[in-house]
Symmetry: C2
């Protein structure tokens, strides 16, 4: 069958199940259920701290076929996922479903565990590096399920994704399971992506290298959700935890794109008091923030909030009074962590509060403007951030689809061509975010506005910005790069791309 975007998807996928086809960004609104949660009550004399991982596995009765979960706040510096999976392998346990909010290059040891049958299924929001490449080549027997950040919280809360044991890397924990990410050798800041796991898993284990006297405050994850605590030598490598790449681009093309994006924002009328804003940590995205900062200062504009993964750059804007508050699901750098503990106006949010479509209103619903990237865009404005144009998985939605759906103005900033390949084309390898959520595409060669946004088209008429039809941008790109040869794919599905509501927006097939 084909879903509403015309993507060919089987009605039933082996190792995934029955497919609910994507029907539009808001087609599944209505009455929702948060699933029943099972837990073991803890009495005053119960001890929660266990001496080692084997004791943990005994206590949680870890066994073949279970689903275990991890958060990705330690990013490419995380030791916990590899450590736990290695220990599981040593115990001879097989057939584990790994529900990790994201996977990074340092998770390459999973490749062996997949080959050995320890891990037979993976659910994640994002993956990059060797594990993503190998999965693209089909080493997993069942397709990876890829969620959005909000979609993962939704899936966990609704019971679509049932977690038997959540392992929570805890930069700081006390002996009763209160956790924060703010202190310790492996400090990472907000722990928003771990909240649903803690609240809904059958068993919850805090894995820490920094066991502090009770109570560990501020408490990000409460003792009332944590069964056991285990201390290990090191949960992470600080160099890999805090991203060092959150610098504004110096590339003149990137700066030009940022300037144009800023002019689009201003022309839209949304850059005014009480505005809200989100941007990623990429070089062009930060350059957009820099342009916005300048404009807000010059015009004495005070916004309500900036949100997302928080960078030092957004902290600067907040501290200058350009935003009254920050909503933080994860901290990208040390400056964000420091700000987070220094004022209650820099607030944490869970992934559910950030982006879940099935609660009573996520923060993304309150967004005015979001700046996003793309690896490919089709002429219906559908965006791919999951695969490269060779079909290899090298990312995933993360909050892309969530913020695009929620924001009043979603702007994609991208160079028109990258590595001699066009970004805008007739057909893209994978649809991550539907075109209906994308309002404007800004490239160095011109700006395309989604035709359904007649209001924006009207407003941009009063500017000198180079507005083009998206087909024209495609043509310009193809003139530069030539029309890329279509890659051929086998029938084998290596990943199922779930939209935030749990419907299937696309699948990734193994390239031939």
């Amino acid at each position: 069958m084909k879903n509403i975007l015309g993507r060919e998807i089987p009605e039933y996928i082996e190792g995934y199940g029955k497919v609910i086809p994507f029907e539009g960004a808001f087609k599944n609104a209505g009455t929702k259920l948060k699933k029943e949660v099972k837990l073991n009550s803890v009495m005053p004399d119960n001890e929660k701290v266990l001496p080692d991982m084997d004791s943990v596995f005994d206590k949680v009765s870890l066994k073949d076929g279970m689903t275990i979960s991890f958060h990705h706040h330690l990013r490419n510096g995380d030791n916990v996922l590899n450590l736990v999976v290695d220990a599981i392998a040593k115990r001879g346990i097989k057939n584990i479903t790994l529900a990790a909010s994201a996977l990074f290059p340092n998770n390459f040891p999973l490749i062996e565990h997949i080959k050995n049958g320890v891990i037979t299924k993976i659910v994640t929001n994002y993956m990059s590096g060797p594990i993503a490449e190998e999965i693209s080549r089909g080493i997993l027997k069942t397709p990876v399920i890829m969620h959005t950040h909000g979609g993962r919280a939704r899936a966990i809360e609704s019971g679509d994704l049932h977690i038997d044991v959540a392992f929570i890397a805890a930069p700081t924990a006390d002996n009763y399971g209160n956790i924060n990410g703010l202190y310790g050798e492996s400090a990472c800041g907000a722990l928003g992506y771990a909240v649903a796991d803690a609240q809904c898993a059958d068993m919850v284990v805090a894995v820490t290298d920094n066991l502090v006297p009770y109570p560990a405050c501020p408490i990000e994850i409460s003792q009332i959700y944590v069964d056991y605590i285990v201390k290990v030598d090191s949960i992470g490598d600080p160099d890999g935890i805090v991203s060092g790449t959150t610098k504004i681009t110096k590339d003149p093309v990137g700066l030009k794109i940022a300037k144009m994006a800023s002019e689009v924002m201003v022309a839209s009328g949304l850059v005014k008091n009480e505005m809200s804003f989100q941007t990623g940590a990429g070089g062009i995205s930060l350059a957009v923030a820099a342009e916005l900062r300048k404009y807000m200062k010059e015009n004495a504009i005070v916004g309500s909030f900036a949100s997302g993964g928080i960078t030092g750059y957004l902290v600067d804007m907040f501290e200058e009074g350009l935003f009254r508050s920050l909503f933080d699901v994860q901290c990208f750098d040390m400056q964000a962590i420091k700000s987070y503990v220094s004022t209650y106006k820099h607030q944490r949010m869970s992934a559910s509060m950030y982006a879940n479509s099935d609660n009573k209103g996520a923060v993304v619903n309150k967004l005015d403007i979001v700046i996003l990237g793309a690896t490919e865009i089709d002429t219906n404005f559908n965006v791919n951030v999951t695969t490269g144009s060779d079909g290899t998985i090298m990312g995933g939605s993360g909050g892309h689809s969530d913020t695009a759906a929620g924001a009043k103005l979603t702007i994609i900033v991208t160079q028109l061509t990258k590595a001699r390949l066009p970004i805008i084309k007739d057909n893209i390898t994978t649809i991550t975010t539907p075109g209906e959520s994308i309002d404007v595409i800004v490239t160095e060669r011109g700006i395309a506005v989604n035709p359904k946004r007649t209001d924006i088209i009207e407003k941009l008429k009063n500017t000198n910005l180079p507005i083009r039809k998206i087909g024209e941008l495609k043509d310009i790109a193809e003139k530069i790069t030539g029309k890329p040869e279509a890659i051929e794919f086998s029938d084998e599905i290596v990943a199922v791309i779930e939209y935030r509501d749990g419907s299937v927006i696309d699948v990734v097939r193994k390239p031939l």
Copy 2:
């Protein structure tokens, strides 16, 4: 039948249902279920702010037979409960179950609403004033269900107490339902008792007189739990909200009791680094805190936390460095509110985190010492804080049973006689907290230690404290007051006293 404490309780109570008899403080530990929660998802273009209470009732489809809930953080200054119930009565809706975490003298208008059939059932943790007196005289057709603070959270989370619509008095709210109690004319501080209602009710309405620009931070109750917001003229009377009575007693008898209680604490060996402590806001309780403060300073002791309803007195101790942190379920005064926003070490806790026996470990489980009061004590150490000795309801457990169950050392401080009545007697009117949770009773005429605490008895042998058998204390009291005449009760049950685990520890019958 009789429960394990010998209280005569029917197996089935009309208007309540089948009785689970109390079998001991920790007999119901084990696997627990948090119930499924139903909610309506909110899309980006949905508005949550409604113009008036009638629009709210329309939107939440309020109708006969529903259960509505309220928190008591505005105490005797709360306007919201009366306002909502009046509006319900005006609409002609009947047969409402009122689940209020506590009821105060200012809730007297409920008496008319009960007589008119608007309110036909009440569930609460504490009540005082005219409403309590009238209920004691049998104006409600069904018995009031009285919970502990932790028991209410447990009942709501488990589904034992299903709430159709929670009305949350919100000193500060934004247009998407983020709520805090810290600012506004009716600031009350922490909102711990409203959290379970917000998380588990079918519909949640924030009632505010202080609608602020988005986002209202710090967020105590998140937008993801709130369906609608309605603005009213005033949610409370500041004079009634913040208790003005949290002063240390000047009565020499009270001071003597406090001094003795302090010596018991020290002799127990629990007054040391990392200790935790809770005390009420009563005059003698605060005097105990004053003694402890002196001792901790003199001996350079730093405790881990003080908890409970937080008073300025505990804030002083915290700011002096005697406790590293505070756990706050409700603020008793302005000083507590100010502290609460000034440092993340003064932390909020929900009623569930505070005291629910059915989560993975409440804060009460980590308590070393709690100081509590009593209106009556029997020779098995069972304590009444629910009824006066004339059988009239004038209080309720609140956190009494919860903290007593959790703490390593539970001390009751009380004068041996009050208003010419003995406090210790053979039979007490109502059992609120079981004797197994009570360790020491300190009166001006002597100290009784629960015989099962042989360890404490042993330690107190090395002191000059006047240790007596509890029977001796009873005899002394009766010598002063004479043996009180037993009141006679009818068979009519006006209140069912649930222990924190949902079993029935006692019932209150209507006096003849």
